[in-house]
Amino acid sequence: MSESQSDSKVMLRVNASDTLTEVFLVDNRFQLITAGVGSVEAAVAPGLYKARFRVGQVQSDSLVEVPAGTETKIFVGSAVQFATPVPLPQTMTWQQKHEEAARDLSKSLPLKKGSGSQLFLFLRGLTEEASRPWLGVSVHNLHGTLLAEAAQGTCDTENGYCGLHLELDPGIYRLRVEEEVGEIYEMFVITLAGWQTQLFALAEDAWLPGVQAIRAALPSAAVLTTEIGKGFDPDSTTARQTELLRIGLMSGRKILTKTGLQNLLAESPLDPISTLFAAHLLLRQENTNVQALAAALLDSMCSILSGYPDLSALLLHSQSENRTKSVFPTPPMLQASWQLIMLAVEKDQAEIPVDSLNGQIQQGAALNSALWLLHRLS
């Protein structure tokens, strides 16, 4: 009696290095067998297979040999080396001096401009031309009052970085980049009571049209949050996870699974920025099997982001039709949150005061970006 095909199959499990990396498994003729996020599993015949791991727009491949005579084969892929402004090990853009500087400076004595929360800016360049990434960068309050210029921080031309550490009242701040005289754009950064917001940016070719300069690039900036006193930890799984969520959201990838969400919710305390990214990823995925977890996520966010426009925008989307009109005078951090607000305004469920900062942004000074809400100053 010959062995049936199912008897000779091997359970092949391919694990990515984390739960937010996409995994594709193809056979020896390059036909897709299965795809998933974090890991995939398939009953396969002994033979050769190819596993592809993808983060945003970056991917790496591994060939996998599944021998006969085994029941299970587990293959663990190595971390995909993606580009990020955060000096994380095992990334394309990591530099040891940047990692060390970010770690040390994030724990340095902050320049006091308020109390209760911290903002740590770390700007870096990877080339000689980008060795002064702090040029033109400044932090302002919501009224536009200058609080500090990046150049007031610790700046190192030789190694191409700058760290500015501020103590601030919890709230929303304007991070501006003047790419050349009069050509200014900004993003909005939140700081939270008891938390340090860390913002990382790489110096790149100027983003505004017509400007020939190398400046910190806000569209690709990364934001992490950590409890005050802990500083930047390059080995933190939360930092890498937050970056994977940001890149997933920016690239339009559907990377949040039930397992990924469970892992996120298992953290204590919940990381505010990760939860914000996760909530928007969930909105895009319309993933019905994680509704309960999504509700838990929103509840958790209410305790840490209450009163911030990004959360209010998400609540607008999740709540029923019958509610009082929400008023949004101040901008959110994320472009996706801004889009939710605009949608609600169209449906007459939200209002933007004409003379508010949001009113100015609504009048056409918002720049389209994949991730952050960016505002060009006239």
Binding site: N28, R29, Q57, E65, N368
Partner: protein, 346 residues
Amino acid sequence: MFFNFKHRCRMMSNKQHYAIVIGINDYPLSGLQALKGPVNDAEDFYAWLRDSAGGNLPESNIQRILSSDFRAEDVLPTPNQVESLFEPFIVNGVQGRYGERLYIFAAGHGFGDPADIGNTALYAANAKRMFPWHIAVTDYVEWLRRHAVFDEIILIMDCCRTVNSWHSIREPQYVVSAGSPAADKVRYFYAFAVGRGQVARERSFADGRSSGIFTQAVLDALRVTGPDEQGRVTGSLLKNQIHNSLDKFAGNASIEPPEIRLDSFRDITFLRRKKAAALPVQVDLQPYSGTETLVLYNGEFKEIRQELASAASLSLELEPGLYKIAVSKTSRQKIFEVPNNERITV
């Protein structure tokens, strides 16, 4: 007699297939860097369309426009010149079906719409930073699909899809109509060199000619992709082949993965062939004593070749796939991929 009939059928051109081929190298008014690949890419794709073993289209069914067709100082083609190629299909398409298949190939500098994630345009030669003249390629394609002007639409865009908040894609001035109820039946294959927001790359290849990395991968896939059991080279098979072979064409360039959209349940059969084309692989034995016996296995561990290595370096011709090569009675072995491993050491 039967053989002759079949032979004649194979050689007959696809008279119901049409194509628009666009290649723009130079953008002197825009500040965009001049490219070297798009015209070559368009010519290469045109050659494949004409090839009886390729697209097999009659010359009269292909409309081509290249920046090299014009004097550099004229800064052409403009959007109108390119859009006029779509015009006959739009004009006739309002009335109903025009043909079986339409190929649209576009290479040059491109961009994605800031607000519409799927919309991609090609800058015209006269594009300026403040007047981004362009051809709304995907808008045209969607119009043709919505009106079921062709049964199959194949779009290949080898261009950047970067997003500039100042450059929105303007919908072309074609007529507005409800579309055709047959729109859902239109099969499609949309292949973009990169995902939204990403930069496509070109490079100089071994023959000294510059080409888009993506176009070369597409053309190679069209030439070598193995068929399914019915002998069909389908869009899904091509997509897999392109994804798996792109690194081979990238050389040292850092590239982003392409975005290829199709409906696998309504797949296009690009062409038919009996088997995949074989590709060369060089196997180096290190160390080499002259007594080594090499055994080659396919991806299902079936032995497909065994021989005494007569030299320290051997050449194999293999169809695309995964393989394992081993030196008999030793632990020396290597698994490798064709393409992507043109030279391996065991």
